[in-house]
């Protein structure tokens, strides 16, 4: 993920749409993918992405360059996505709309590869769905987005040992569920 310069941030905070677009271009992939994996729905991932960037825009003036801009965006994203997922979890369960609405940035694969990829995505979706939003966020940030334990701790505003214990519990759950899935397939 490319980072943005302080000048871009300052210009955006002064109202430059072009500079804000640079910020969007730098972080929208991360925001959108984290949102999608945490809220588990394309439409809601788009809503969360919009909300994240509008929050970033509104709070840009109050951003002090003491902390990392990247971590600041991570925190806003994760907080909004987790809140959204928790709110939605209270409502009825939703189906994954991955099949219908996905927009891949990769080249069109062969049919065989596509089927394999779709199956893999279904497995990932089922596994992530079995976790609570806090655990899900940890797994997404670590295993999909590749953040370090320290970055996850800063993004979620929690202790690094809490990150470790959440990952441990989440992954133990995933291992059990995956084993059951494999046994059912056989």
């Amino acid at each position: 993920m490319k980072d943005v310069s302080d000048n871009i941030i300052i210009e955006a905070s002064e109202g430059s749409i072009e500079s804000f677009e640079s910020i969007y271009n730098a972080y929208s992939f991360f925001v959108y993918n984290v949102a999608f994996r945490v809220v588990h729905n394309i439409d809601e991932a788009q809503e969360v992405t919009q909300e994240v960037f509008l929050t970033v825009y509104r709070k840009l003036k109050s951003f002090k360059f003491k902390s990392s801009f990247k971590t600041w965006i991570y925190r806003i994203t994760v907080n909004l996505a987790i809140n959204y997922a928790k709110k939605r979890a209270k409502e009825q369960k939703r189906t994954v709309e991955y099949d219908d609405k996905k927009e891949s940035n990769k080249a069109i694969d062969s049919i065989g590869e596509n089927i394999e990829r779709e199956q893999q995505e279904k497995v990932i979706a089922t596994l992530l769905e079995s976790l609570n939003p806090d655990q899900r966020a940890c797994v997404v940030l670590r295993s999909i987005e590749g953040l370090s334990y320290q970055e996850i701790a800063e993004s979620l505003n929690i202790n690094i040992n809490t990150v470790r214990s959440r990952l441990k519990r989440a992954r133990e759950t995933l291992l059990v569920l995956r084993k059951e899935m494999v046994q059912n397939e056989l």
Binding site: Y24, Y32, A45, L54, S143, L175, R178
Partner: protein, 167 residues
Amino acid sequence: MNCEKVKELIITDYLDRQVNEEQKEQIEKHLASCRHCKEYELAARKTVIDLFNNAERLRPPEAVWHKIKEKIEEEQELTSPFADLIRRIKSFLYVPKPALAVATIIVALLIMVTIIKLPSENQEIMKANLENQENQIECITYLLRVFNQDSMNENNGFGTSIEDYFL
């Protein structure tokens, strides 16, 4: 290092490459001699690392940026000095909504009362006119009767031939 501790490290720090060299050596030494932990490590690597490493990354649709841009521009318009001036003028001319509602109700009531009242007033006027007309007829009838009586009483006549002719 026992199996429980090794498994705990495998599923977190070891697979995430967060262990130091010393820990790494100890874990790998254990794995070389413990088939059960080695199987656990392979299963964990496959499920919690490799599977998610291959997860597809999605591109946010263009519409997302357009909506964000639109909202930002709306907000910028609202916070511009010109918009601020308009807001001040509006606040100067501001009529509180409840007051406006009350005023609307009063005007509506006045209109309704006027519409309902007019026909009854017309009826009263017509009634008065009718009474006047009746009075006038009565008056004329009375006068005619009196005149006729006088005429009868004065039946003496003038004794002229014209009078005879007409009577």
